[in-house]
């Protein structure tokens, strides 16, 4: 089909307006951030000059104005957080206490439904499996890989090989893996996994059909993507271990095993926590992989996919919101742990 610019004009126009708005807002902000502090600095300079010329005491910065100043800088962030996060969060909580059409209050019935409906319990169990397995396996893989390739030849090449999947979107990765798991009942196999099975003399299988194996196979996709992330962060942390500690340990004659558990692990602990926490949160929110690979069929659904289905496809916004709130509650402890951890590090 020919691409007709005149036909697409409303869309292009919209794009143009969007771009202009972006330029105006971001440009304006940058300008403001440039001009305002400079203005303050100039004023202060003038005050100082005036004070030194007059020989009087140097004027003290007033505390109150500093607060105002900070508030000015925080304003855009606060505004966006309120509009984009706080208001929707409150609304979602309220919706979760209403029925499908969001008109009648039903109390906690949606939450009761969540834990009594067999298919939703299955969804919760699946999410649990995801959250337990993905951070553990992805971090372990990343860590082992980072330790093994540290300071070997072709380290850069080896690392980029594992890191590459990070650049692929979840949807793209899922499509790739769907081909790996593909099944043909008759004729030649087009899926890698089934081709391997067949060439070993086995029967081809419909891998994504049988629970709970299918959930594990989907987890493989996530691990494939996230292991690279874990590897890069942990590798950087390993490189940051001060050379003198390593040298001292060597002089004391440690075995590689001791080196790993006594020196490397304690030194990279903060990085390790960051990696595990980040991957855990990403895993809790996983949506794209399940939706692309199986659409939540064959007992593979997770909270995020079911939340979308309930709210947007089945017209059950109450149930969808309840699932969203539950997901939110699950993420909170992880975030609190992370914040406390960061604070401790700063103090320590």
């Amino acid at each position: 089909m020919e691409f007709d610019f005149a036909d697409q004009q409303p869309k292009l126009l919209m794009l143009m307006y969007g771009l202009i708005a972006f330029v105006v807002v971001v440009g304006g902000l940058l300008l403001l951030l440039d001009v305002v502090p400079a203005q303050f600095a100039r004023r202060r300079e003038a005050q100082l000059v005036a004070a030194s010329v007059g020989g009087g005491p140097l004027p003290r910065r007033r505390k109150q104005r500093e607060g105002l100043f900070a508030f000015f800088f925080l304003l855009p962030t606060l505004l966006l957080l309120t509009i984009g996060l706080v208001v929707p969060a409150i609304r979602t909580v309220l919706l979760s206490l209403m029925d499908g059409s969001s008109t009648n209050w039903v109390g906690l019935r949606n939450y009761g439904w969540m834990f009594s409906e067999d298919s939703i319990v299955r969804v919760l169990i699946n999410t649990l499996i995801w959250v337990l397995l993905v951070p553990l396996v992805a971090t372990t893989f990343g860590l082992i890989y980072a330790v093994l390739v540290d300071k070997v030849r072709f380290e850069a090449v080896a690392k980029s090989l594992v890191f590459l999947p990070m650049a692929i979107s979840f949807v793209g990765a899922s499509i790739i893996w769907k081909f790996v798991y593909a099944f043909r009942g008759v004729g030649d196999q087009i899926g890698l996994l089934n081709q391997i099975v067949v060439s070993l003399g086995g029967e081809p299988k419909q891998w994504l059909l049988n629970s709970p194996l299918n959930t594990l196979l989907l987890i493989v996709i996530m691990v494939w993507i996230q292991a690279g992330f874990a590897m890069v962060i942990l590798s950087a942390a390993i490189k940051a271990i001060p050379g003198d500690i390593v040298e001292a340990a060597r002089l004391d004659g440690v075995s590689p095993w001791q080196m790993f558990w006594r020196i490397t692990m304690p030194s990279i602990r903060p990085a390790l926590i960051v990696v595990v926490v980040t991957i855990s949160i990403a895993t809790l929110k996983v949506f794209d992989i399940v939706r692309t690979a199986t659409n939540g069929n064959y007992d593979t659904s997770v909270i995020a996919t079911d939340m979308y289905n309930q709210a947007f496809r089945y017209g059950q916004s109450g149930r969808g919101s309840a699932l969203a709130v539950f997901l939110f509650i699950l993420v909170i402890p992880i975030v609190i742990y992370q914040v406390r951890n960061l604070r401790q590090q700063r103090e320590g």
Partner: protein, 448 residues
């Protein structure tokens, strides 16, 4: 500040571009009404006059080539009346329409394929009831069976537009002729033929229910078609409105009956493998083995004609054609399962009502049918304007007064069942779960 070394220039360029685009936008938008307005071909549109330059937005799930045909089908109307129709098709229509309506950004008109969704919007008070002209036109041109599905609590909201017939079994007339097989006209003949084909070493049936996030729907059509035949239209109506439980014994019987074909390793899945391969076979591909001789029969709606590769002759003496899915119990009549979309309005401005009336008129349905690949239940459709043999057959079936038409049940049920647990349940069922457990699960998921 390093970001904009020459900020003024950047602003000037952006501003100039924006202005230029806005200027061209103004240049094309106005004065759509051509000089033809008074001419002979515009005579039919006399009653829609007086809305020159007004804009009506239409939102639907129809995209790409089909959408082009759609826009061409009303081009004469827009030329003559000066009403501008802004059409938008979306692949996420069902999910996005409620979002747009709730967000106060509703289209003027939407083509909704699910009576269940029409009911949801009508109950929420979002839909406008029809204008007097539209209502008169719809009641005059549309069969009562169809109008019933656009009616909520006694008020007509949705006017049927396009239609498709689902009670079809695709087969290859060429293969049937070569092998000496007869097109079956009763269920017993159908099973006898299946056994005969199975005995010859070929799997008689092929099926596939994979369809992205709608996976499972082709199997629900199977169940509905069989239920209509074993239990009759009345029980079917009770079932879709939940007057009887989803797992009523008669429904269990119908599902098991469908299972004698769909879950029969001897019968399926020609060209793809065993029973379980049905779940992962895309519905678009599922009937293709009919043409290459790996499978003999494929039950799917009339629109499946578009799936055959280019060069396939879809005709009674060609490579592929369809026969009517035969009745099981002669006492239950000649049921027809089908579906279609309904024109609903979220605004009642005169130009919106004019478009609504036009879409129900003889002028429109014939204009659209002439472009091909389209069927409607509108009785003003002249069958001479329908070109393809399968569409002709569909129109004949739809206009046959002796047939009993029923709408696709999963589109009538609440979306949580009709687009959710029913679809998923059918996938589990084909995957080996027993009928009773599956139907019990769907029954318990029906929103109270």
């Amino acid at each position: 500040m390093a970001v904009f070394t020459r900020p003024r220039q950047a602003f000037v360029i952006a501003g100039a571009l924006g202005l230029a685009l806005s200027a061209t936008a103004c240049g094309t938008g106005d004065d759509k009404k051509s000089d033809k307005a008074g001419s002979a071909e515009c005579a039919a549109y006399e009653k829609y006059q007086g809305n020159d330059g007004k804009k009506v937005s239409i939102y639907a799930s129809i995209r790409d080539a089909e959408a082009d045909l759609l826009e061409r089908s009303w081009s004469q109307f827009t030329d003559c009346t000066g009403i501008e129709i802004a059409y938008e098709g979306s692949g996420e229509f069902e999910a996005q329409l409620p979002v747009r309506v709730d967000g106060g950004n509703a289209p003027d008109i939407a083509f909704v394929p699910q009576p269940g969704l029409v009911k949801r919007f009508a109950d929420a008070g979002k839909l406008k009831s029809l204008g007097a002209d539209t209502k008169a036109m719809a009641e005059q041109n549309m069969p009562a069976d169809w109008l019933k599905y656009g009616t909520v609590n006694g008020t007509l909201y949705g006017v049927p537009l396009g239609a498709n017939v689902k009670s079809f079994v695709w087969y290859s007339p060429k293969t049937f002729k070569e092998k000496g097989w007869e097109v079956p006209t009763s269920w017993d003949q159908l099973i006898a033929l299946s056994d005969k084909i199975a005995a010859s070493g070929m799997k008689p049936w092929c099926a596939g229910v994979e369809s992205g996030d709608a996976t499972g729907w082709p199997a629900t059509d199977w169940i509905e078609d069989v239920l209509l035949r074993t239990a009759g239209a009345e029980v079917y109506d009770q079932w879709t409105t939940h007057a009887i439980p989803f797992n009523d014994p008669r429904v269990v019987e119908a599902v098991d009956r469908a299972g004698t074909i769909l879950k029969n390793e001897k019968y399926v899945n020609g060209g793809f493998g065993g029973v379980k391969s049905i779940t992962t076979t895309a519905f678009q591909e599922a009937g293709l083995p009919v043409v290459n001789g790996k499978c003999a029969m494929h039950r799917q709606a009339s629109f499946y004609a578009n799936q055959f590769p280019e060069g396939t002759k879809v005709a009674e003496d060609g490579d592929a054609f369809a026969f009517y899915f035969p009745a099981i119990d002669a006492a239950k009549g000649k049921p027809v399962l089908g579906a279609g979309e309904f024109v609903v309005a979220y605004a009642d401005r005169p130009e919106v009502q004019a478009v609504q009336t036009y879409l129900a008129s003889a002028e429109y349905v014939n204009s659209r049918a002439k472009l091909g690949n389209w069927v409607t239940a509108n009785n003003k459709l002249d069958i001479a304007n329908v070109a393809s043999p399968i569409d002709k057959l569909s129109v004949q079936i739809l206009q046959d007064k002796s047939g009993t038409f029923r709408f696709d049940g999963s589109d009538l049920m609440p979306a949580a069942v009709g687009a959710g647990t029913f679809w998923k349940g059918m996938v589990d069922w084909i995957n080996g779960k027993d009928t009773a457990t599956v139907l019990q699960g769907i029954e318990s998921s029906w929103p109270k």
